[in-house]
């Protein structure tokens, strides 16, 4: 399964070239973008922290396919956009077990339906330090175009894995809580 195939069909046109086909998306960063229905994602629950957005659109950051990064652009809030990437390219051993309630809520019937994306953080001015949130991927059912950010308890993943080679695998927490907050999610099992 090549995740990129799902998102390279976007026709990325300026307003001057508007053809009337596709879906019109207004992005604060990108201006007006026309996208195919196949690039739309409706979240079954909002992405935590952003309760006002449910509808998103996946837009390649590089129309020519030179970059694997995608905008996950909110269609409900033009100023909201994440950068997402299919994680397996950078983490070939990324192994996820989708929790049963999420599988059922997304009506996933086959592995072919599943598109896994991870949200990344690019520190301003330091793109080499880009990190991926591997513990909470955005999982999309490409058949129904519905998605959800899923939390992988017990996976051992954190919210801050470096994509590019670094001395450590995981970036330190940015806040003053660094000493006791590793960014890991506590395990789900009870003692």
């Amino acid at each position: 399964m090549d995740n990129q195939e799902h998102v390279t069909q976007t026709t990325y046109q300026s307003d001057d070239a508007a053809q009337g086909s596709g879906v019109r998306v207004l992005s604060e960063r990108l201006g007006v973008v026309y996208a195919d229905e196949g690039d739309l994602v409706e979240m079954s629950t909002p992405i935590p922290g952003f309760p006002a957005s449910l509808r998103y659109c996946l837009i390649p950051t590089d129309e020519a396919g030179g970059s694997p990064f995608l905008w996950l652009q909110s269609m409900d809030e033009p100023s909201l956009a994440f950068i997402a990437v299919a994680p397996f390219e950078f983490f070939p051993e990324y192994d996820i077990e989708l929790p049963r309630p999420d599988q059922e809520e997304l009506d996933i019937q086959s592995v072919e339906d599943v598109l896994v994306l991870t949200l990344v953080t690019i520190p301003p001015g330091k793109p080499e330090d880009v990190t991926a949130n591997l513990v909470a991927p955005v999982v999309v059912n490409t058949r129904t175009r519905r998605g959800r950010q899923v939390i992988l308890y017990d996976s051992g993943y954190t919210t801050r894995h470096y994509l590019l080679p670094h001395e450590e695998d995981v970036a330190a927490q940015p806040s003053a809580d660094a000493e006791h907050d590793t960014g890991e999610c506590p395990p789900a099992g009870d003692t």
Binding site: T8, Q9, T10, T11, Y12, Q19, S21, R29, S44, T45, I47, P48, G49, F50, T61, D62, E63, A64, G65, G66, S67, P68, F69, L80, A81, F82, I83, P101, D102, E104, E105, L119, V120, T121, I122, P123, P124, G125, P127, E128, V130, N133, V135, A136, R148, Q149, I151, Y153, T159, R160, L164, P174, D181, G183, C185, P186, D190, T191
Partner: protein, 87 residues
Amino acid sequence: MLVLTRRVDESIMIGDDIRVTVVAVKGDHVRIGVEAPKRVTIHRLEVYEEIKRANLEAATGAPALTDLDQLATLLPARPKREPASDS
């Protein structure tokens, strides 16, 4: 915050379709069972807060296009594709 006192095996209804049950109490640990529709997510608070923090950082730090361009140069070379044309 509404605070109720329950014994083991007693429950609380939240709305019409969320049920919270005290499953067991052991020392200072309480085992809590939650029955809810699949569309309702259930997470321990500290987990949810960490995910939310990471999302906020990812969104508000959304990069300048120059950072994205520079990032593309740091990646292993990829074959470029022609932009898809409408069929």
